[in-house]
Each structure stands twice: as structure tokens, then as C-alpha cells.
């Protein structure tokens, strides 16, 4: 068996070296099947079957990928000489074929299929987190089909492959996602902000392998996915061109990767958004610097050109907001527009992410020329099917055509059997912790915001955090604030209203702990003013914090920065700017995450429980079941 495998490996290597597929007998010797077609060019030369059962057309293999015109012309010149010698071709027929071969222009361009996705977030198991999630086995089916139909291909991801994952991946430190991607066979993943959720060391462990130093759920993969009995790490490269170590000035991970397609090199520059430190726990990005996206790309272009590389794809974990269907790009806005507008014209394609949107755009670069910019939604629901046409003479991309596909759920798309055992393995390992009942609810509790930005689930989570920190021993908090980005799913209504650990984990997968601190009333106002886009360093959209019961305020969206929030009350009394209040937030916010820098100034800090434990305790303390509230704490005027 092993011998057979080795022989197969050698055979496939040889056929790769020959750059032509192995040819099995497929016609009856001496028969003629029409005339030889070179690409779309018809010739008058009879397509005769040779003594070995291979026809003239098959031996020429014009449909195979050719790295340049010399490769195809020398190939057809050689194989037709042998056929002339054997009598399968007459000299005049061979001369006609060689003239047609040049005329056909075969080899002057090479088509490379790029298969792209972004914001996968460890959604291995179909339906986990949302019934719309197809699961990694269906994603694999679509990827393998595109690979099989295109010998020249690359599979690339634009970040947030891991982090903020459902339990089946997150409980095991996202090792299952890396192992699944290893099985699918992907080439590069640009880091996104969530790759930094657990810090630099953990990100490097994802790349290099080895078990987590303390987490008992690490290193539990199937033997074929492990290396020496430990987590094997990624068999693809994480890329981070704009992330450097402050101490050395060197990039934490490679800036770019190069894939060679029959002598035509394509560079993939990978990066996360410059603003990553404002949306990741500062401990996760300690000692790292994040540079401007367009400047980073443009500075790499001369280096790539010196290596003879002119085909350049940028994988960037930053995106935009579009409207309309998958195929379109109407009214796209957001940071990616400005980034692309500053990009060097050598960039041929920009594969984006972060906004969880699906779009297929042409945006103008620095020279005012349109460049293709795509994003494939989220959670494996979509994938990009992109054709790069490379001019093999100049080695530059001459055309880009992109389609955003829908992966398909249920019976629409079959699950790849090469992935199902991996998913089932972790699903079964997670079954016991996941099924544990932690309380009840009276109906489903949604994270959907009302017009003011308040959600029923946000209220419940803030209440749970306040409850966990209200006592004298736990912080004496009077109010809790929760970031909306930390609420990742709705809390579903199961039979009997039972809430499982798995459900709760899917809502709050980050494992943040609670921090209670003292803020003045004025600082609380600054905190709330900072919620609005562009105010006090806030990014491109509003981030309305969820607040605990007893705290109320109103805001005027049309107001100026720092003058939108009015009528703050706590248990009916106006909030006094000069008074001190004990405030609870999670560790992400406490460190100034999501641009809420005022929280770094909070004094008399006291660490508390993990957010999920606080949530569980809150459910337990509500015997009749937690009910969604009226969402009346925040008023938009």
C-alpha cells in the first residue's frame, strides 16, 4: 500500500514536471475523430488515433495550462515530430498544425483561478451560530470542485478565519479550524483583527503548532491532523505585511506569499486593518505596530518588481459597505474605498473582508484606473470565484473576472466527506460541555437593535454583568456597559426554554472577564459620546453600548460630537458630572477597546468573573426564566 502511494506520488510529480497530463488510451488505433482543434482554432488536419490509442488532439493537449507561448510551441513541435516519424501525421499536416499553433495564441495567456473567502470565524459545523451557516464541509465541496476544474489555482482568505468562533472551534482554541483548512488545502490567510484576540503568542502557535500551555481542550485533534501527537499548526501561511514588532521593526509574519504558476509568479500581500489595535484587547496587540494599509502595499511593490513579480493580489482585512446583490456594487462606501484610491496601479485585485458584506466592485486606484475589489460575506456562506488572466509575456495580470458564489446549505450542496469526520470528532468532544443546561428563558432573546441601538439581549447581558458585580465583595457596581460587537448571536428558544452552555457560548465566545472601575459622571458622558462615528476617535460607524437596568439616557443623532447625550439618569436621579460611580465593563472595553479610551482612565479597578460565568449565574438566579425586556433604556431623539 505504502509502495503504491509512493509510486503514485512519483507519477504525479513526473506528470507535473512534464506540465502535461498523463495520457491514457482513449481512441481506437487508426480511427479518425474529426479534425484537430487548437483552442478555438479549427485546422483541416485529421484527428487520427495513434497506435497507442492517443489521438493527435489529445497528445497536443492544447487545453492544458501552458506557462508561456514558448512552452506550448516547443511542446507541439516535439510531439508532432514524433507523430510525423511514426506516420500518425503527414509532413504537410504537421506544418499546418505548427502554423496554426502560433496563430492560436495558446500560451500567450494563462488563466489562474483564485478561490477566496473571508470572516470564516471558525464556523465549522453547519447551522452552528445560525441556520444560514453551511459549515466547513460544504465550503470544502465548493472549493474542491473549483480546484478540480482548474489546475492553476490558489485558495486564499482575507482574515478573521479564527476568533469569535462558535463553540465547536472556540472551545478547542480554534485548532479545529486550522486543521480543517489544512485538509482543504489553502495557500494564504491574511490576518484579521480577530487573529489577535488571544495575542501574538497564540497567533504564532496557530501558525507553528504545538499545544496550548494550559488549556486542557488543546491538542485533541484526530491523529492524522496532528504532528507528534500535538496540534500541528497551519500548513498555509498567515500573512501580515503591516504588523511589525515594535522591538525589532520586523513583520510578525511574512508580508506576502508567492505562488508560481508554470513560471508565472503571483504575489499575495496580506494585512489587517490599521485600526486593529482599537478593536482588539490591548493585551492582544501589545508590542505590535499596525501601519497604514495602502502605504504598506505601495512600499512592497518595488521589492516585488525587483523579483520580477508583476501580478499582485492584496488580501486585506478591511472592507466596505455595499447594497444590492452578490454580483453588484451599488453605493459602496467605507474605508476600503479610500485605501484602494491610494493603491499603486501594480495591484491587480483586492480581496477584502471585515465588514461581513458580499460585494463585487470596481474601485479606482491611485491612477484613477478601476481595480477589482471583492468580499465574500461571512461564515463560509459565500466564496469568491475569480479568474486572473496573466499575460505570460509580461507576467502581469491582463484581466480579472470575479463572481461571488453562494456556498449553499442543506441539500443544495453536499458535505465533503474529507471534512465530516473532523467536524464530527470535535462536535462529539464538545457535546457534554455544550449540552449542559445553565438556565431558562421565556422566549428567544434577540440581539437585533431597535432604532436607538438597544437590543433585548444586550440589556440582559448588561444586567447579568451588573448582577455579578453589584455586591460589596464583587465591586459595588451601579451600572454596566456592554459592547455590541461582543454579542455574536441571538439566544434561541429551545424546548422548555432551556439555555445550554453551547447557546450562551455562541453569544459570548470571547472569554472576557469583568472589570469594575470608578468613573465620574462626566467620564460616563464622554464614554457615551464616544459611541458615535467620528467622535473621540470612534471609527466609521456608531457603536451603541448596551446598558444595565436603572440607567437611562437620550441622544440626538444629529448633534455635534460630545453634545449628543442628554438626560442621563441612574435609578431616576440625574447623573452628576462630578460624582463617582462604580461602572462594570468587560476586559476588552476596560482596556480601551472599540476606541472607548476613557475607560482606561477608570480608577479603583477590580477584576471579576468571566463574562459567560456571570451570564450563567444570572440565569440561575432567575428561576422563572429570563424574559426579554422592553428596550427602553436608550432613547433616540
Amino acid at each position: 500500500m505504502r509502495k503504491t502511494l509512493a509510486a503514485l506520488a512519483v507519477t504525479s510529480l513526473l506528470s507535473l514536471l512534464a506540465a502535461a497530463p498523463a495520457q491514457a488510451a482513449s481512441c481506437s488505433p487508426g480511427s479518425v475523430d474529426g479534425t484537430v482543434l487548437l483552442g478555438s482554432l479549427a485546422t483541416a488536419v485529421p484527428n487520427r488515433c495513434g497506435a497507442d490509442g492517443v489521438s493527435v488532439d489529445d497528445r497536443i493537449a492544447d487545453e492544458s495550462p501552458w506557462g508561456n507561448q514558448a512552452a506550448f510551441l516547443s511542446h507541439i513541435t516535439s510531439v508532432t515530430m514524433a507523430m510525423q516519424r511514426s506516420g500518425q501525421l503527414k509532413p504537410i499536416e504537421r506544418a499546418r498544425l505548427l502554423l496554426a499553433a502560433r496563430q492560436s495564441a495558446i500560451g500567450t495567456t494563462l488563466k489562474v483561478k483564485l478561490i477566496t473567502f473571508n470572516d470564516f470565524h471558525g464556523t465549522l459545523k453547519a447551522g452552528e451560530g445560525s441556520s444560514s451557516n453551511p459549515g466547513v464541509a460544504r465550503l470544502s465541496t465548493r472549493i474542491q470542485a473549483l480546484k478540480a476544474a482548474n489546475a492553476m489555482h490558489a485558495v486564499v482568505s482575507a482574515g478573521d478565519m479564527i476568533g469569535a468562533s462558535p463553540l465547536t472551534s472556540a472551545l478547542f482554541k480554534d485548532e479545529p479550524t486550522i486543521e480543517a483548512m489544512n485538509r482543504i488545502g489553502i495557500d494564504f490567510n491574511a490576518v484579521g483583527n480577530h487573529e489577535f484576540d488571544e495575542g501574538k503568542a497564540e497567533l504564532l502557535r496557530m501558525q507553528r503548532g504545538g499545544n496550548h500551555p494550559s488549556d486542557p481542550y488543546s491538542g485533541l485533534g484526530l491523529p492524522q491532523d496532528q504532528r507528534n501527537g500535538h496540534f500541528a499548526g497551519a500548513r498555509f501561511d498567515f500573512l501580515a505585511a503591516n504588523v511589525t514588532e515594535a522591538s525589532t521593526g520586523k513583520t510578525l509574519l511574512p508580508a506576502y506569499g508567492v505562488k508560481d504558476f508554470l513560471g508565472n509568479k503571483v504575489a499575495f500581500i496580506g494585512m489587517t486593518l490599521e485600526g486593529t489595535p482599537t478593536i482588539v484587547s490591548p493585551s492582544g496587540v501589545a508590542g505590535l505596530q499596525f501601519a497604514d494599509e495602502a502605504d504598506t502595499v505601495n512600499a512592497l511593490i518595488p521589492q516585488l518588481r525587483a523579483l520580477g513579480i508583476k501580478s499582485v493580489v492584496v488580501l486585506i482585512h478591511e472592507g466596505g459597505f455595499g447594497s444590492g446583490s452578490l454580483a453588484s456594487c451599488s453605493g459602496v462606501s467605507g474605508p476600503i474605498v479610500d485605501i484602494v484610491a491610494r493603491l499603486d496601479a501594480e495591484v491587480d485585485l483586492v480581496v477584502t473582508g471585515h465588514t461581513h458584506q458580499a460585494y463585487n466592485c470596481l474601485l479606482n486606484n491611485r491612477d484613477g484606473k478601476p481595480v477589482r475589489v471583492t468580499s465574500s460575506g461571512q461564515y463560509a456562506r459565500n466564496l469568491g470565484d475569480i479568474d486572473l488572466t496573466i499575460d505570460t509575456r509580461s507576467k502581469d495580470v491582463s484581466a480579472v473576472a470575479a463572481t461571488i458564489l453562494t456556498t449553499g446549505t442543506g441539500a443544495t450542496t453536499a458535505e465533503d466527506p474529507a471534512l465530516t469526520d473532523l467536524v464530527a470528532h470535535y462536535d462529539s468532544l464538545a457535546a457534554v460541555p455544550k449540552a449542559r443546561v445553565i438556565g431558562t428563558i421565556t422566549q428567544a432573546i434577540s440581539r437585533n437593535n431597535n432604532a436607538a441601538g438597544e437590543s433585548a439581549l444586550g440589556d440582559v447581558i448588561a444586567d447579568a454583568q451588573l448582577a455579578a458585580t453589584r455586591d460589596a465583595g464583587t465591586g459595588q457596581a451601579v451600572v454596566a456597559f456592554m459592547n455590541p460587537g461582543g454579542i455574536r448571536a441571538d439566544l434561541p428558544f429551545n424546548a422548555g426554554g432551556l439555555v445550554t452552555y453551547g447557546d450562551a457560548f455562541t453569544v459570548q465566545p470571547f472569554g472576557n472577564s469583568l472589570v469594575t472601575m470608578t468613573l465620574t459622571g462626566a467620564q460616563i458622558k464622554t464614554l457615551l459620546e464616544t459611541q458615535f462615528s467620528g467622535c473621540n476617535g470612534q471609527g466609521g460607524f456608531n457603536r451603541i453600548l448596551q446598558v444595565s437596568a436603572g440607567f437611562q439616557y437620550a441622544y440626538s443623532a444629529a448633534g455635534a460630537c460630545n453634545s449628543r447625550v442628554v438626560a442621563m439618569t441612574l435609578n431616576g436621579a440625574a447623573v452628576d458630572p462630578a460624582a463617582a460611580y462604580r461602572v462594570t465593563v468587560n476586559s476588552f472595553l476596560a482596556d480601551g477597546g472599540d476606541a472607548f479610551g476613557v475607560l482606561v482612565q477608570g480608577s479603583q479597578r477590580l477584576g471579576g468573573a468571566v463574562d459567560l460565568d456571570a451570564f450563567e449565574a444570572y440565569l440561575l438566579a432567575t428561576p422563572g426564566g429570563v424574559a426579554p425586556g422592553p428596550q427602553n433604556r436608550i432613547v433616540k431623539q
Binding site: N68, R85, R96, R393
Partner: protein, 277 residues
Amino acid sequence: MTMNFSKTLLATLLATLGATAAQAATLSLVSGSVNGSLAVLAGVNDQAVAVDAGIDDLSGSGYLLGAGGNDVSQTLTPAGTLTHLWSASASLDTTLNPASAAFQAGSISVLGVDAAGRFDGSDDSTTVLLEAELAILSTGEAEGSAVQVDVSGVADALFASTGPDVQALTTFDLVVRGADSRILGSWQGLPAGGSGSFSLRFQSQIGQVLSFSLSHYSSLMADGLALGAGASHTLEASALLDGQISVSAVPEPETYALFLAGLAAIGLLQRRSRSAH
């Protein structure tokens, strides 16, 4: 157990050798050109076809390619046609493998005579010349480090005539020169209608630029012939040379020493293993 150990050792040694070769020399195309031409003169009943055609340079990044072609058909009076098809090309491609380049030169010339009366004879000649400057580079080794250059290939020629007596001449001339124009290796061939192969090996060094030259000449001369009614004749000459040039590191003396030490160690272990039985 002992065998496993010695196998591991052997594998390690081979890996060491492999690693040495892996960081070694590459061939880079610095510059080059492809030229060539066709001249054909043929006649029937004093009606001549004369064609002069050239080779177009279609070279791109990392490869040289020249190709020429011609397809003429002349209607004769009072009846008949004289056709001539020609294709010639030469290429050198460094893009598929960093340590080697594939090269090729070839031509095919086919004269068709469909006429009555008298074939006046023909003279058909093709020349192709490919010249390339190939730099031997390395990322891991110093300028001047020794490398071995291998040049090998096969050449093949066919000619035929269904009627008129023909004389065919096919030559390939391959020359590789060093920096001082000194010839490092060369091959000339081949007998008309025959085939040949070559395998050259010489030493060079990192940093050297090799001047590679491959020329091809093919001629087919036909005598006149009286043509019967409805006569149809084909005269053709084809030739092709396919080859490759590759560079590889010459292992350092220390590597040899390590390898020999390893072999000795394996021998020792095997002897021990035998005496233990």
C-alpha cells in the same frame, strides 16, 4: 532497531546533501535574441514561386521565442498548383525550473507540386539562430563558488521526396562560451535523415555569464523532373533539436567528508548488527 537507526542516519546525510543543492545555483536569462529566415525558389514550366520570410521575436519575461511561418499556394497556368508550407521556431525557457532552461530549435518545409509538364527544381533553405546570455546566480553561495553545468539533448531530422531527386543538409551547432569567450562546451550535428544526442558537462562558477548559442540550418535541393499528367509530388525536410541546460552545485569537500563519515558509520553499525546475530 540498528537498521532503523542507520536508515535515519543515511536519510539525514542525504537531506544534508539535498539542502546543499537546494540553496544552490540558478540560471537567469539576462538577454538574448532569436533570428532566422527562409528562402525558397521553386518552379514548374518556368513559372516560379519565390518566398523570403523571417522569424518574429515573440520573447517574453524569462524566455526567448522566435517563430516564423509561411503558407503559399500558387495557381499555375494552364493548370496545377505549387504550394509551400514552412514553419521554423527556436526557444529557450528559464521559467519552469530555476536551475535549468529548456531549449529547442526546429524547422519544417514542405513543397507540394500538383501539375503536368516539367518541374524545374527547387532550392529551399532555413536558418535559425538563438543567442542567450545566461547568468549563474545563487542566493546562498558566494560569487566564484564552483558549479557544474550539464547540457544535453536529442536531435532528429527527416526528409523525403515522392518524386524528384533531392539533397538534404541539416545542421545544428550548439556552443556555450564563458566570460572570456572561451568555449566551455559545444556540439555539432547531424547526418541528414539521422538522429543524434549529446551530453556535455563542464565546470563554471556562481556569477559567471554563459553565452549560449544554438544555430540551425536546413536545406533541401531538388533536381528537375518531367511530370506526367496529374502528377502530385511532395518534397519535405524536417528537423528538431530538444535540449536542456542545467546548473548544480558542486558539493563542498566538507560535505563529501561528512557523507563518507556517515557511510563509514553505517558500515560499522551494520557490522555490529551482524556480529550480534
